[in-house]
Subunit: 336 residues, 2 copies
Amino acid sequence: MSKYTARQIHLVSRPAGMPTQDNFKLVELELNPPGKGQVLVKNRFMSVDPYMRGRMRAEGVYAAPYGLNEVMYGGAVGEVVESADSNLKAGDIVLNQAAWQDKFVADANTVARLTPFDPDQLSLYLGTLGMPGLTAYVGLLKYGEPKEGETVFVSAASGAVGANVCQIAKLKGCRVIGSVGSDAKAQWLKDECGVDVVINYKTCGDLSKALAEAAPDGIDVYFENVGGDHLQAALNVMNPFGRIAACGMIGSYNNAEPAPGPNNLMLIVGKKIRINGFIVSDHADRRAKFLEDMVGWIKEGKIKSRETVVEGLDHAVDAFLGLFSGDNFGKMVVKI
Amino acid sequence: MSKYTARQIHLVSRPAGMPTQDNFKLVELELNPPGKGQVLVKNRFMSVDPYMRGRMRAEGVYAAPYGLNEVMYGGAVGEVVESADSNLKAGDIVLNQAAWQDKFVADANTVARLTPFDPDQLSLYLGTLGMPGLTAYVGLLKYGEPKEGETVFVSAASGAVGANVCQIAKLKGCRVIGSVGSDAKAQWLKDECGVDVVINYKTCGDLSKALAEAAPDGIDVYFENVGGDHLQAALNVMNPFGRIAACGMIGSYNNAEPAPGPNNLMLIVGKKIRINGFIVSDHADRRAKFLEDMVGWIKEGKIKSRETVVEGLDHAVDAFLGLFSGDNFGKMVVKI
């Protein structure tokens, strides 16, 4: 195995319903040494994210679908091993979109040098300081527009995005209600993140009823990560002129057949609700301010991060599948 | 029968599913002559509107529900018959919210004197120049934000609201696609209102397919009056950053049990769609500008109105029920 031997995970068939290991294949290959203007990067951490499920479909919802028998892509943090570009040198830490592989050669301008906030917390740039953190920041502040004293409901509240939404909402003076799938996650959100009420949707019974009890004054903002019964409950309990930031609907990503939506959408009219779907890649203009704010909040101890770290590229598929069974506690990352 | 004998239509039971005549009762009563500051008004036209169905439910969605064994309310145009107020005199035409009755006595400040654009078209103030017209104007312009050259899809397109949406969108330089339930309505929209393509949803087969064919470049704005399969089709064919002005969902108003929603709501995220529910009563601040614009457009022949006029208060319930079977062609009004 040479310095240029790389391992990649390819999508070899499109999942029908919940993906399985058979949809993926670990492939070994020899890279060419970097040509002029290129770098060889060894990834140290890669991200697995729910949005990747959408890219496994033939008809890409967000963007072009992953190609079959090709390496998938996604966020990763790596280290430059060899450089043939004047702007990067061996040892530089770079953020890149070339996940699902342990090494790659690419044009230097396709990776971004990081000056890490903390060299021992590189993976934060895949979570709280990365795409999920910016998603939380933009979705809540731009589309949720929470005002001090308002009530914010967050689904998948302990996830990579959700936990940041909860904590930013607390910073903005809101009452925060989260929904999660385990008591341990609920406890962490309450104890460490200051979330006011956490609902375990698996054990609470009727979710609308549980939410109405948790929010006697109604909710003003719903940060949507789940869809289905969560959206239905949010509409039921929402106040007039409530705002929904629609970030994702993980509850439906693995449906082989599309499932019907909530039966109370007429409340959108009656309650004069605004819903904004959004995708973080449209909001790169807010990244600088986000990083400034978020690093500040982390240093002040106002934003906490929790990660589940899976070891080894050969377990990346397990990590990805774990997102849908709730195995992750906070941000799921793969250490390579 | 004296000058003070009035007839009212009362709601006597709450409909389960489609309302029937049995839910209503015609009641005759003697009014007191107007006291100081009051007027006796004889209504000339009253409005029946789909939103009234919502007010027949025990739990009001928009506003307080209609009381049982009480007269319902809604928009009407009447004539002052007797006045004990210095600001109004017999013969004045007044817009009021005291429909479902032929005469009433009320404080003068609860009615608004009209200077009709055309005394022979008083009923326009219940349609194109009234609540439905303002609904179309606010919903399309404030929430749909159509830009010249964009494609606008309007459901219930020949209705009191829809026909105005279509024509305002054409005035703004948009390509307009309407959906209706009869070929005669389709023809009128094309011939008289300049709508580019009209789909008869009852005969078109798969609505998403029909809409995709009608809008090869996708739709940018959807004016939502129907819900269900119409919303599903609009989401399927919508372009990224599309806007939905959610005005009503008449398809569900008479459901005894709530019906599930579209199965493709995840497209809200993927296409970065904005949905705004709205109710016209929140937008009285735009009424003056609306009237100025709309009267101008009518005079220039740019906005046409079509009405279905039902004769007699004793047929008001028929007129109301006709809204849900598509009996109305344009604005449904009752001449009293």
